[in-house]
Amino acid sequence: MKNLLSAIRHHRDIKTIKDSALFDERYYLAHYADVAQSGLSPIEHYVKIGSDQGLKPNAFFDDLYYRDANPDLRNSHTNPLAHYIMFGAREGRNPSRSFDTRYYLSQHPDVAQAGVNPLWHFLTHGAAENRETNDARGQALSAESRILYDELAQIEPLLPVFDDLEFLPLDQVARESLAGRAYFKLSRLVNRPFTHLFVLSRLIHGGADRLAMHYVNLVKEKRGAHSALVLLADLPDRPARHLLGDGVQMIVLDDVQPGMSQEEKIQVVARFIIEAQPQVVHNVNSIIGWEVFSRYHRQLRPRTSLVSSLFTCHYNQGGRRVGLVPQYLNQCIDHVDLILTDNAAFKTDATNFYSLEARNQDKIVVAPTPVADEMHEPDKQAGDSKRILWASRLHYDKRPEVLAAIAQALPDFTFDVYGVSYLAASELEALTQLSNIHMKGSYAHFEELPTAGVNAYLYTTRHDGLPLALMEAIAAGLPVIAPDIGGTCELINNETGWLIKKDDDVAAYVEALRICQSNPEERLRRARNAQDLLKRHHSWASFARTVAGVAQYHLS
């Protein structure tokens, strides 16, 4: 019976509060991280659990204060906010120390006339209009203050007239700081000293993040797991968390404090670096990281070495350079210590496009991505197979129209296509309507793709650095047919695969696929040559040697 009554009461309070729009769900989730895992909706959590624990439904309603200030409610089961909505506001009760209901209504007659809840008005309109919530100004501008102030105005005539002080903007100090709250929580999470801070946008299975994990593992190998700290600064996504080495601490800023703006994150990360003083901050694709470098390099260097990874320049459909390279490389290269890339083509392009001085060219270091030392023997049974593997993001950049044209020109071949689609429905349809294209959906790792019976790996693209997928295909024993874009030619040539000179030359792709399929010996020779090249240039040992040899990376 007691439970039933309680359930009815909760149901009624939830409805009252919901209808009032006085429950700030964003505020509640941002301040009380456990709520998301409670299995209750935020408003249910507040009514059933949070209110009794003193959790606040918005920045200006304080349940504990309301109960204390209103003794008639102390032994009641009524939810304080529901009471304020139904009775308290009309009775002139205050929702917290900093909001005076009677004052607000008396100072803002439009609110009183409208008959709306004064706290609701403040939260939805009044705060943005800088309306004051209590008589702090009136108390400060007392008759005694006028006398004291007028004495000073005799000395300094530039002081405003006392009566005008009533109209000056009042600097209302915020009662809390989300960034400050985040910072203190973050600093408490770090439980041991570290030397290398990795600032990542997120941790997904993309090439950049996988390469970042190689750097993390290198720090772990050279200086111990405790020396590396990974901070996901921009987004909370971390499907590739398993790539993180054992013992390496990772902190997700959005988990530490949900609801922060980009500016708040920048301030938190900057202060964290200033205070922790790591030897190296290595930024991989994080806009937060770039903004910190851009604004605060003077404060961070030389104590901390500022390192960024960049891989290639992206282009939009109009052919303009977009993304992190045009946004940050030119303005930041004078102020960072090191730019790490995985392909020499990027260094050449950046040097030429931005006319980099020798000292800045020297800051760009090419460290080829390490791939698994274990190579799979090419599948000899697939020598004359007509099954082709295409695996990448299904995106405009990856030239899906070229893939479709190749498939049309080779109706006797089949194409297994893997990857998450970012294509418009019409673009996707151009692929799916072809009977020899088999859409296989997304994949997390290249290793999970079936390669038995596959004749070759086909790669089409418009812009790129040196895609990890090419290396993974070679390691899997597949011959690669790819366009001469970005750093591809550092890996693929006519001894190690088939390099297509023009990225939209469908006939050249078709010819290469036919040769590969009709010459099993040549297919085998090139696949093995590619694996030899991979072993020489993309081994863990050569990667570790290259990076450890860079003084700014502080591994020795």
Partner: protein
């Protein structure tokens, strides 16, 4: 054994004749405190790398019974710290050369301070910013149940006009600004340093200060400069790096 109860330190640099209102306001406050409280007050005008105009002004207008202290550190923190070292008073009242204080400021602040332990810093209860921008600020009370030190991450909350026991200033000297490296916000830093040490900042209702706003001086600015940061502070500790 010191015979002074309070040392008033007026810090300045390039204010020149603009020091006049500040000095006049302090003279009134000192007069009222001496006569009302019967205490002895020392007055140091602490100028760091003063401009010619400031030197000239002080040459002809130095207040009676004050003494000048010139330093060459490049920022007023150097002069303030030196003045604190040399001060004889049990309490220090710090005022910037851009600020005016109400005539009751010293009396009220000393009365509050002398009745408490050393762990408090008192500020005026109302700040009127004038000059390039005009606004009011009512500094918060750290003992207010709603106060959150988290806010100090984002901005300074109290003006530099302050009165506290001398040992507070000795234990927490002002940091030297290093503008070339982008480190500034000396007042904010000092507040954080003291809060980290458990010292409580309180406003004194009924007292006021007027702060001249200029490009180089912004009293309790609501928005800190984007490219300038506070130096590492004890309020924001993180485990430090491994030794190289």
């Amino acid at each position: 054994m010191s015979t002074k109860e309070i040392t008033v330190i007026l810090t300045c640099q390039d204010q020149g004749r603009l020091l006049n209102p500040s000095i006049q306001s302090l003279r009134a406050a000192i007069r009222k405190a001496e006569s009302g409280l019967g205490v002895a007050i020392e007055w140091i005008i602490a100028a760091d790398t003063p401009s010619e105009q400031t030197e000239e002004y002080l040459l002809y207008n130095q207040p009676p019974r004050s003494r000048k202290l010139f330093t060459g550190g490049g920022c007023t923190a150097v002069a303030a710290n030196q003045a604190v070292k040399e001060a004889e008073g049990k309490f220090i009242a710090l005022v910037c050369g851009d600020d005016l204080v109400s005539s009751n400021w010293l009396t009220q602040a000393y009365t509050e301070s002398s009745g408490r332990t050393a762990g408090f810093v008192f500020h005026p209860g109302l700040v009127v910013a004038f000059g390039e921008t005009r606004r009011l600020a009512i500094p918060p009370d750290q003992e207010d149940p709603d106060f959150s030190r988290d806010v100090l991450f984002s901005r300074n909350l109290w003006p530099s006009v302050s009165l506290a026991a001398r040992e507070v200033f000795l234990a927490h000297p002002f940091s030297y600004e290093d503008r070339a490296r982008g480190f500034g916000h000396a007042d904010w830093y000092w507040v954080c340093d003291t809060v980290a040490a458990g010292i409580v900042h309180k406003p004194l209702p009924g007292t006021l200060a007027c702060c001249r706003q200029s490009k180089t001086h912004a009293c309790v600015a609501p928005e800190p400069c984007r490219s300038v940061l506070m130096p590492p502070s004890k309020l924001f500790p993180v485990l430090k790096q491994c030794e190289v």
